[in-house]
Amino acid sequence: MGGLLHTVLVDPFVQMWTLPDFFVQVLWEGLVSGILYALIALGFVLIFKASAVFNFAQGIMVVFAALSLVGLHRLGVPAFVALGLCVLIMLALAVAVERLVLRPLVNQPDIILFMATIGLTYFLIGLGELVFGGEPKVMITSELLLPTGSYVWETLGGRVILQQIDIAAAVIAAAMVAVLAVVFQRTKIGRALRAVADDHQAALSVGIALETIWVVVWFAAGVVALATGIMWGARSDVSFALQIVALKALPVLVLGGLTSVPGAIMGGLIIGIGEKLGEIYWGGLLGGGIESWLAYLIALAFLLVRPQGLFGERIIERV
């Protein structure tokens, strides 16, 4: 018993202390995963705030966007043209979802809209496979002028290896979040979005065009999905297996709340880092496969301490 306590409560920290460079390496890798989780969760939150729709398809949108990008490039479209086309595809998707799903189902119970997004998920899987084929593909990282090398950071008496693509991911994610924050905090569209999130009817009565807001948020979520797909695809490869990553957004949302943008970001980082630390320092103890459920454990443990989640009063009240 004493031995077990020692391996759980003492050993990991001794390791962190004695190999600090490795510890920093683990933190960094957790941080990068966390950024990508945060981006996926951010897509969920944007859509949920504006339309109270829990978008099951957010994960598949990541795959679909990445697949379209690689697929177009394979058809001979230059990389940046393909990127531009993918942005347009996400816009078309947003418009189509608004016209064909949200508008006809407006005023239906939330569960119906949730089901509709499950339908959308399978539609996107089918469409992606049909047009571009389902086999795993390699992200066009260097064609998009994203760096592929790595830096070696000599520190703490050792070395930390930083993949340049990971640094790029962090920078792009931060820039995207900053742009979204400015738009949603300062502009008429941002105020309208917050109004719609609060009360649809009232928003309509002051002349906010709900349809426009829906297109805006689905498009924003689509662009976020595209960016996430590129970064994630660059670290593994582009296939439908990627959607499993999207499931990681769920514990992030439990932690951060469905309606909080800062919650999604902080939640993503906490889950990403926590998961990596758990896997490396406690993983051997708990056996393999820990990665698939550790995120939920972290979220639940956190909620025991802070039931209202990271930032807010309302957690999942609307689901």
Binding site: R186, R194, D198, V206
Partner: protein, 261 residues
């Protein structure tokens, strides 16, 4: 007694019928609203009063009839069209942006009046900033008028019911409407709050010339405020005329006033 020139017909409801499944919420109703008047809509619960306001601002699409608004005939209004052509409203069950402050709620009423592109707003630059300040000034005037300075920065969800009703009126006023639709603005209020609300409604009508359609159950309020009254019952038009005539109408007394006494 009051001095306002009642104008031409500004809105006409023509032969409107609205059904929900088997329920006839509105059955072949016609009436009109004249510029600058206070037009009360009364009737027992379920008479179709709220449905009528919902038809006028486009939340509901009637199966039959049409709405003539400022000379334009519409098969059905649309909320956006209504808001952008000068119709503002409040709701029977308050519909405010609960998470936002009183100030932001009122500012949301300025949505359609903001012209500057969102790029400039994001940068808080030049003309966009000036515009925001001008809107803020207008909203502050309304806040003064409604005597809610002390709660400007409070999230609306934390306010007591009576004050929420007042904020909702403020948001509608921020739209600077020509026609203001008020659905039971005094429901659930105590006497003092009712007197305040009556005063605001009268002042808006007299000083700004705003036309008002008012649903209200308190008969003394209706008799005091309104120029003309429409009486609905089971979706049908029961009577239409000035207060002193409607209040003596035997059908009205039986269907409505009789029940209330």
């Amino acid at each position: 007694m009051r001095q306002r020139a009642i104008g031409e017909v500004i809105l006409a409801v023509e032969d409107v019928s609205l059904r929900f499944g088997g329920v006839r919420a509105i059955a072949d109703v016609s009436f009109d609203i004249r510029a600058h008047e206070i037009r009360a809509i009364i009737g027992p619960n379920g008479a179709g009063k709220s449905s009528m306001l919902n038809v006028i601002n486009g939340f509901y699409r009637p199966q039959e009839g049409r709405i003539v608004w400022k000379g334009q005939a519409h098969r059905a209004m649309r909320p956006y069209l209504a808001a952008s052509t000068g119709i503002a409203r409040t709701f029977q069950n308050i519909a405010l942006f609960k998470g936002m402050t009183v100030l932001d709620n009122l500012m949301s009423g300025r949505t359609l009046k903001m012209r500057r592109g969102f790029f400039w707003q994001a940068l808080r630059y030049g003309p966009a900033l000036e515009e925001e300040i001008a809107h803020r000034r207008r909203v502050e005037e309304i806040i003064d008028f409604l005597e809610i300075e002390h709660i400007r920065k409070v999230p609306v969800g934390r306010l007591p019911y009576g004050l929420q009703k007042r904020v909702e009126l403020g948001r509608a006023l921020a739209m600077e409407p020509e026609l203001l639709l008020l659905d039971e603005p005094m429901a659930g209020m105590n006497l003092e709050e009712k007197e305040d609300m009556s005063r605001y409604i009268l002042e808006v009508n007299e000083q700004l010339g705003t036309t008002i359609a008012l649903i209200e159950h308190d008969m003394s309020v209706v008799m005091d405020l309104s120029d003309r009254i429409v009486v609905l019952d089971h979706g049908q038009l029961l009577a239409d005329g000035p207060p002193e005539v409607v209040s003596r109408d035997p059908a009205v007394i039986e269907a409505y006033l009789g029940v209330a006494h």
